[in-house]
Symmetry: C2
Subunit: 133 residues, 2 copies
């Protein structure tokens, strides 16, 4: 009885952990790019919650809690992105994501709306100063 | 037997959920402020992982995954903050946090290092354009 209970307990905990509650190393990414002012409305329309976009691909490649925020600074519009990478091989997952036909199509639409920071090709990854669980 | 197993299963799931895995509404906040260039080093020292700061207070008032990132844009330094509020009364929790003596002391040190965006008093909350679980 005890053994069966123990097994069930472990199984339950394991299933819930696999569902996203395990404590595994998390890579937290903050990034920024400029949004062309003429693209402001269309960009928001494309990224509305009602639009599936490539959300499923982000999940597939272990990018969690992906948010994008918009802010005007000194007359220019910027996008700030945040996500947590919870997979086991960041470089491999990003390489696979980059090959996904739907992601390639998506970026063909979004990239021209953005104006990377000087010297950058796309998003600029920011320096993390602080984190609290 | 089935009943006992069922109770144990429910208990296990409940305990794990109470530990932070429950699916409850999450308020995702992205915010920005300017960091005075002369404060760059001291700000990072104060916010280093080795410094406890007020991390425990953020947890106490249900602010999760709080990150701050630093980025230079057009020659100025900016801080970008992200967190998830997972409590049940945001305004009440923020009001209580604002009264915590240790938080008041902390802000007395940090606030003078920052230069809020024009028209803002402290951090400026950004507009959310996108979120994916």
């Amino acid at each position: 009885m005890i053994t069966k209970l123990g097994i069930l307990f472990a199984l339950t905990a394991g299933l819930l952990a696999a569902g996203g509650c395990a404590s595994m190393p998390v890579k937290r990414v903050g990034m920024v790019t400029q949004l062309k002012p003429e693209a402001l409305e269309e960009y928001q329309r494309l990224h509305a919650d009602s639009n599936a976009g490539v959300r499923d691909l982000l999940t597939k490649y272990h990018m969690r809690n992906f948010s994008i925020f918009l802010q005007q600074i000194d007359g220019k519009w910027y996008e700030f992105g945040y996500y947590e990478y919870v997979g086991r091989d960041f470089d491999a997952d990003m390489a696979q994501l980059a090959k996904e036909p739907r992601n390639i199509e998506w970026l063909k639409v979004c990239d021209p709306m953005q104006q990377p920071l000087p010297g950058a090709k796309g998003w600029t990854e920011m320096k993390r100063a602080y984190f609290n669980p």
